[in-house]
């Protein structure tokens, strides 16, 4: 039903083609499309309106340089404005207090408990903190239990008070205990609540008053629609929170709520949740989010993630092997492992501009390499290092061992040889991932 935002913009920007200057008249249609695209991305009605008006002001009268096409200029104006609205550089949380106290708040089902676990894991592993988690959701069945299970997974203790129905006291006692036992960071999970639930809003205000947090984070589901502004505003009026956490961004929502919240409460988005695992937490990058809302592909994250996972030394070794045509099935296998480490293939490919749409409906998942791996695992060490020895009977054995067919084995070997040739030609491992991806898809029926 919804076209990609960038396609829409492209179409409307085409109307600007060949125009020397951006004028009220020739920009009207584009702005209408921009607005509609924002609404489809769940940007709030009023925010979208203000936004397009600002863009219009910025665009009007701009002389279109001969070097820049008007549609490119509009893309830039829209993108820059979005990024700016999303708020300059990323802002960190305040963990200076001892213990630093962090209060987590939000609607039901927004992902507070999962985020609490992720945050504890992050400060423990990356910032050498000694955190204490506090189970303050005394209402939802098994909520305490849920935090306890997460705490166990990540090796962080969880403060609970058996049978207590008093989140204010729990939070207060937890901070006291942290002080006594030397925990330097306290994360207080709370029950989900609706902004219109007066009693519950008073309760969280009381929790805030009791523990005077260094940081209050408002957790919101990135799939939220128009109501995001009401809720964010109400929570902010009550709690004056310090930052926003945007969850479930590993879904395919455009996440326009991020823009709405930002423009209504003017608080920075500090983290984004990108999966159910405890390490699926990223800091927020305004420009990337702008790209996402615009559907322009999250190319920056892709590069950074790839860099983080790719060992530079190994890359160099690989390059020399490629140059000498010694690239083997073992190297191939380790490349697959690298790619898998980077995260879901579909996520990764989706970050490449233009790829998003192409792979949207493709059955392209982490299992893509399953057969390839099975085949390689069924080879002897010698065969992996020196594929030239793979004669007919060896191939038959490999097919049987990997539960595939001889055709599939043949195809993989052929593709491997082709890849090796191409790589040698290019003389570097730079485009390896792409080649590998092609290969794995080629191997599927």
């Amino acid at each position: 039903m919804f076209e990609n935002l960038s396609e829409k913009l492209e179409r409307s920007f085409k109307l600007l083609k060949g125009q020397g200057q951006i004028t009220e008249i020739n920009v009207a249609e584009t702005l209408k499309e921009v607005r509609r695209a924002l609404l489809d991305a769940d940007v709030n009605f009023k925010t979208a309106k203000t936004f397009t008006e600002t863009v219009k002001e910025k665009a009007l009268g701009q002389n279109v340089l001969t070097a820049v096409k008007p549609e490119q200029m509009m893309v830039k104006i829209v993108h820059d404005e979005l990024t700016q609205l999303m708020g300059g550089a990323s802002v960190d949380i305040n963990t200076k207090g001892n213990p630093a106290v962090i209060l987590i708040a939000g609607l039901q089902g927004s992902g507070k408990t999962t985020f609490s676990g992720k945050l504890a894991s992050l400060v423990k592993n990356k910032r050498s903190k000694n955190p204490l988690l506090v189970a303050g959701d005394v209402y939802r069945p098994a909520a305490i239990n849920q935090l306890q299970v997460l705490g166990e997974q990540i090796g962080v203790p969880v403060f609970t008070q058996e049978g207590s129905k008093d989140p204010v006291k729990i939070a207060k006692d937890a901070v006291k205990e942290a002080r006594q036992k030397g925990y330097d960071l306290v994360i207080v999970d709370t029950a989900g609540r609706l902004a219109v639930d007066e009693e519950m809003m008073q309760e969280i205000t009381a929790v805030k008053k009791a523990i005077d947090p260094d940081e209050i984070l408002f957790v919101v589901d990135s799939m939220t629609g128009q109501d995001a502004v009401n809720t964010a505003k109400e929570f902010n009026d009550r709690l004056d929170f310090d930052g926003v956490v945007l969850t479930k961004l590993d879904g395919d929502t455009r996440g326009g709520a991020a823009l709405s919240i930002r423009s209504v409460v003017n608080k920075p988005i500090k983290f984004v949740g990108t999966g159910e695992k405890m390490d699926a937490l990223d800091v927020f990058h305004p420009s990337r989010m702008a790209d996402r809302i615009l559907g322009m592909g999250d190319i920056v994250s892709l590069v950074e993630r790839a860099q983080e996972q790719f060992d530079a030394d190994e890359a160099r070794k690989l390059q020399s092997k490629i140059a000498k045509n010694q690239f083997s099935f073992n190297d191939f296998l380790s490349q697959i492992q690298q790619i898998k480490k980077m995260g879901s293939l579909k996520d990764l490919a989706g970050m490449i501009p233009g790829m998003g749409k192409a792979i949207k409906n493709m059955d392209f998942d982490d299992d893509a390499f399953k057969e390839v791996e099975a085949i390689i695992f069924s080879m002897t060490p010698e065969e992996r290092e020196n594929p030239a020895v793979l004669n007919g009977s060896r191939r038959k054995r490999i097919a049987a061992g990997s539960g595939t067919s001889i055709q599939e084995v043949n195809r993989l070997i052929k593709q491997f040889e082709d890849t090796r040739k191409v790589m040698k030609m290019m003389g570097q491992g730079k485009n390896l991932s792409k080649l590998m991806a092609n290969m794995s898809m080629g191997g599927r029926r």
Partner: protein, 317 residues
């Protein structure tokens, strides 16, 4: 309308509570712009557009509604605020009504489907488990024997959560360890229900984002495995949508339908300020009826969907 089909006063107040706050002005505004005019002009349409979009109805469906209204107004010539109000309600209900066959729904079950198997699916945190607890209570109150299956074996303490609901409602629950195969739990549940001659089985599943191919395939597998016990199970695949979700609900409906042939919707959290307007377009596009709405976290906070009540609450009446 069935016995449960009418909103009792308390429930309706609860549903209206959040909605009225932001909406009280909509009709007044509409009235202001429409008074003394012989046609629906741009001011009226702008107001209408704002009201619909702000309720998450979405651009496409909003345009569809506005077009229908323009057509009617052109035909009927003069409209005043009251008439416009009535026309609007009719047109919106119309989109929902086209596939709305269960307005008299009363928790009776088809006699030839025993156990009647309901599989509950949806993205993370929308309210699946809570809906199951409330639904079990409704069926039990209607005199049915219920069995629950804890096939969310993935999320921390998901089994315990459903277990507490089972105790609250006093219905049996079939479970295995965390991390076990969800299809196997579903299988066990159906086998137990069969042996116990239960009337209805409700299977909880782990929340999953609809763009994760592996996890969506897992749902298809759960479904297939259930058919080994009850040939035509699951009879109802209930997709739970969070009432505060925006346009992404379309993608959710599309992908879950693809994986499991969803044939019923539930919208939760309508006790908040979110209006759940996206469901109008979803129901219209995928021809899936909305069966239930969630209006709170308590055991009684589930109602059969009524489109009149829904449209009423959309307009703050």
């Amino acid at each position: 309308m069935g016995i449960f089909g009418v909103f009792n006063k308390a429930k309706k107040d609860k549903l209206d509570q959040g909605l009225s706050k932001t909406k009280e002005s909509v009709l007044q505004k509409l009235a202001r712009v429409v008074v003394g005019k012989s046609r629906v002009d741009d001011d009226v349409l702008d107001e209408l557009e704002e009201m619909l979009i702000s309720s998450d109805v979405g651009v496409e469906t909003t345009l569809k509604i506005i077009q229908r209204i323009e057509k009617r107004v052109a035909r009927d010539k003069f409209v005043n605020a009251d008439e416009l109000d009535r026309i609007l309600r009719e047109e919106i209900s119309g989109l929902l009504a086209e596939n709305q066959v269960n307005e008299g729904l009363d928790f009776e079950l088809p006699a030839d489907k025993k156990p009647y198997v309901i599989m509950v699916v949806g993205v993370n945190g929308v309210g699946k488990t809570t809906t199951i607890g409330k639904l079990a209570h409704k069926f039990k109150t209607a005199g049915k024997s219920v069995m629950l299956g804890a096939a969310d074996t993935f999320r921390a303490a998901a089994i315990e959560q459903l277990e507490i609901w089972a105790q609250r409602v006093e219905v049996p629950l079939v479970k295995q360890k965390m991390g076990s195969d969800p299809a196997s739990v579903a299988y066990d549940t159906l086998a137990s229900a069969h042996a116990a001659d239960s009337d209805v089985v409700i299977i909880d599943t782990a929340g999953r984002l609809h763009n994760k191919v592996n996890l969506m395939n897992e749902l298809s597998k759960i479904k297939k495995v259930m058919q080994k016990v009850v040939g035509d199970a699951p009879h109802e695949i209930l997709l739970v949508l969070d009432g505060s979700t925006g346009q992404n609900a379309f993608e959710q409906a599309r992908q879950f339908t693809k994986a499991t042939e969803v044939n019923a919707l539930a919208i939760t959290k309508l006790d908040g300020t979110a209006k759940g307007g996206v469901v109008i377009g979803v129901s219209d596009q995928f021809q899936i009826p909305v069966k239930y709405i969630g209006i709170g976290e308590g055991i009684d906070d589930l109602e059969p969907f009524s489109r009149t009540a829904f449209v009423d609450s959309l307009f703050g009446k």
